[in-house]
């Protein structure tokens, strides 16, 4: 009973939906729901079927099994016009007519509201202009769609969906083709549509870091089922993301939302004394040169650790907010012993990391090649 009520309240939901091509189910038992103002994001590897799910919900593919509900009503029972007034769709179909202005292109979004011949009323024009302004594309209204950049085209596509005045908007990878600035802008538009107008947003994204930041719930698509479904903090805790994409645990730092390359293989040949971010450029440089290294002595909450834990063969860490123990210092000294090069990244010393001054003296006394700058490191590698 409670479930039934929830379905009724959802802008859009699916029930034991199975999707695929030619009668062959690709993904089964899909149960999603987006409430008013919620952003639901599908993530998953290339070819996992995100687009297939979205195309089925957008009514471009027939569901193989199960039901899609729009505002609690079975989509099959609704007319095309009724659905179009509720749901706008931005898929990856990229057709640019030759001689159509951006204004005309966007005004196609008024289709479910115009009459037999598609003539625009004043109210339609207002909506088109509002949509163009919302995506910062009003200036290019009179340009031909075939002449604008990919980024501008993407924004025009969003404007077309916006002026459809939907309660639900379905987008397939809306950020592809966009640079960072426009990605940010686009997600902010979607976010404000959700929060201010109560539009439910259902989309797929390639950028999992952006997905984590913008979504209310995340759907992980892999194999023939939904691998995981939940709030971003649940999804990004543990190894869900690494499992989803089949990458090494630790390569993806979910706290900072950044992807690191794999650590160099082989014997440790370098020790980096860093901290407070000073070590990061050295870690990256060593990774690029495929030079296995260790890092230390760092506090576990140091920004250096987030990168070092992915790229270094070994990271010597203290307990949180505690000075290094003798054991930790000895381990670091052993690592310096086997290294040829020691990097002193230049982190200011304080009460907690005074031990690093000891390590610096140790390295010098052992006659190691000591490097204090990136250019210095490049010379010795």
């Amino acid at each position: 009973m409670a479930d039934k009520l929830k379905t009724d309240a959802s802008r859009i939901s699916t029930e034991s939906l199975a999707v695929g091509y030619g009668g062959e189910p690709l993904i089964r038992d899909i149960a999603l729901s987006a409430e008013k103002g919620e952003i639901i994001t599908l993530i998953g590897p290339n070819g996992s079927g995100k687009t297939t799910i979205l195309r089925t919900i957008a009514r471009q593919l027939a569901p193989l099994f199960g039901t899609v509900f729009i505002e609690g009503r079975n989509m099959k029972a609704l007319s095309g016009r009724e659905i179009a007034r509720e749901m706008a769709v931005v898929l990856t179909e990229r057709i640019r007519p030759d001689l159509m202005t951006c204004y005309e292109f966007v005004s196609a979004g008024r289709y479910p509201y115009t009459g037999r011949f598609g003539l625009l009323t004043d109210r339609d024009r207002e909506e088109v202009e509002r949509a163009l302004k919302l995506v910062n594309a009003y200036e290019i209204s009179d340009r031909y769609v075939s002449e604008i950049s990919d980024g501008q085209y993407q924004r025009i596509l969003i404007a077309r969906a916006v002026c459809q005045e939907p309660d639900i908007i379905v987008l397939d990878e809306p950020t592809s083709f966009l640079d960072i600035k426009h990605k940010k802008e686009l997600l902010e538009i979607l976010s404000s549509m959700a929060k201010q107008k109560g539009v439910a947003v259902l989309m797929s994204l390639h950028e999992i870091d952006l997905a984590e930041r913008i979504s209310d719930r995340i759907v992980c698509v892999k194999g023939d089922r939904i691998a995981a479904y939940g709030a971003p903090d649940e999804i990004f805790a543990g190894s869900t993301i690494s499992d989803l994409y089949g990458i090494d645990p630790g390569s993806y730092d979910s706290l900072l939302g950044k992807l690191e390359l794999s650590a160099p293989k082989g014997n440790i040949r370098c020790f980096v004394i860093g901290g407070n971010g000073t070590g990061i450029p050295f870690y990256r440089e060593l990774q690029k040169k495929n030079y296995a290294f260790a890092a230390g002595i760092l506090m576990p909450n140091d920004i250096d650790v987030s990168v070092a834990s992915s790229l270094a063969a070994r990271v010597v860490c203290t307990e949180p907010f505690m000075p290094a123990t003798d054991g930790q210092r000895e381990e670091a000294e052993r690592l310096i012993d086997i290294s040829e090069v020691v990097v002193i990244a230049g982190c200011p010393k304080g009460e907690y990391n005074a031990v690093n001054s000891v390590l610096e003296q140790y390295a010098i006394s052992k006659g190691k090649t000591v490097v204090r700058s990136l250019s210095g490191l490049r010379e010795v590698l």
Partner: protein, 348 residues
């Protein structure tokens, strides 16, 4: 800002109004020019008198105008419009700017079926009746179009569909050639005459029948202009707007078939009008909106065919050229020129 936009819109609307007005003026001018020119030149004053019913019904001028030139003008206007409109439809359907109603083997199918019919019924009639020619070429066009459509579902790549259309065209030609080997000379002459294309067989009857087919088809196309515009933005997108894609496809195919088949039936496979005229209209209108393109293509096609027919009659008078000779000679350079200017614009 918003004032600027309104201004831009009204200026645009005025330009479009001017385009349509010039089409109508050209249409009238072409009609008058056609009426007065020929082996017997008739002054405009006499034409006006004859058309207003004050002429002498016994005079030569009267019967030349009323029985020969006028039906021919009506026929060329109706079929020219039909041909151009069906070209626009097929270009919309395939999203291919160089598709024409006859590029996809529609005319070859019509010719093949006409050959079959001509040979099959040659014992029954001395002369093929107009209705039989219409029926045969109509059925032939629809059949070949249906075969092309059958492949549409299988190939995703539209350019390979075009190749398939050409191949169907070759197969039909091969069958036609085979049949010709077993045909009487009189049948072959009939077929050859048909395939060169001409409005010379125009009569009030053929003008009436073609208008009866083409005009309702025109208004049906116009009634679906909104759906066509959505379709031109992508099938998936159109579906999401609630367009019944399957129904629209069938409709587009049927209308294209009806329009081009009536052209093939009454005037033969006239080349290039279906490809060139929609392009000319796009360039003049600077828009692809079907609601504008449909009437513009029709009007422009009418004017184009009337002028080409005039040239066919007059250039080497008294020898009359086939209409395709003129339309190809005029149309092909226009298409090349349009392609070049198009490339420049997209090349940025």
């Amino acid at each position: 800002m918003s004032g600027d936009k309104r201004h831009g819109n009204s200026r645009n609307a005025m330009r479009i109004g001017m385009v349509f007005l010039s089409f109508v003026i050209l249409l009238i001018a072409a009609a008058v020019w056609n009426l007065r020119s020929g082996s017997v030149s008739i002054p405009v004053r006499d034409i006006v008198r004859i058309l207003s019913g004050n002429g002498d019904p016994e005079s030569t001028a009267y019967s030349v105008i009323r029985k020969i030139r006028l039906p021919r003008i009506v026929l060329s206007a109706v079929l020219g419009g039909a041909l151009s409109l069906s070209g626009f439809l097929i270009q919309t359907f395939f999203r291919n700017p160089i598709a024409g109603p006859f590029v996809l083997g529609i005319s070859s199918g019509a010719k093949m079926f006409l050959a079959v019919t001509t040979i099959a019924v040659s014992g029954l009639f001395v002369d093929m009746p107009v209705s039989a020619t219409v029926a045969a070429s109509f059925v032939g066009s629809i059949l070949s179009l249906l075969i092309v459509i059958l492949f549409t579902g299988r190939v995703r790549n539209m350019s390979s569909l075009l190749v398939i259309g050409m191949m169907i065209s070759y197969i039909c030609s091969a069958v036609t050639d085979l049949l010709i080997n077993f045909a009487n000379d009189s049948d072959i002459i009939n077929l050859t005459h048909w395939s060169m294309g001409s409005f010379s067989a125009a009569s009030w009857q053929s003008a009436r029948i073609s208008a009866f087919i083409v005009i309702p088809a025109f208004f049906t196309v116009l009634a679906f202009s909104k759906q066509m515009e959505a379709y031109s933005l992508g099938e998936g997108y159109a579906m999401s707007l609630g367009v019944d894609i399957k129904g629209l496809r069938v409709l587009l195919v049927l209308l294209t078939g009806v329009l081009s088949a009536s052209v093939a039936a009454f005037a033969g496979p006239i080349s290039f009008v279906g490809i060139a005229v929609p392009h000319i209209c796009r360039m003049i209108l600077k828009s692809e909106k079907p609601i504008l393109m449909i009437p513009a293509s029709f009007l422009c096609g009418s004017v184009f065919c009337m002028l080409c027919d005039l040239a066919a009659r007059m250039l080497f008078s008294p020898t009359e050229l086939s209409i395709s000779t003129v339309t190809s000679a005029v149309g092909a350079p226009i298409v090349i020129w349009l392609m070049l200017t198009r490339r420049n614009r997209n090349g940025r």
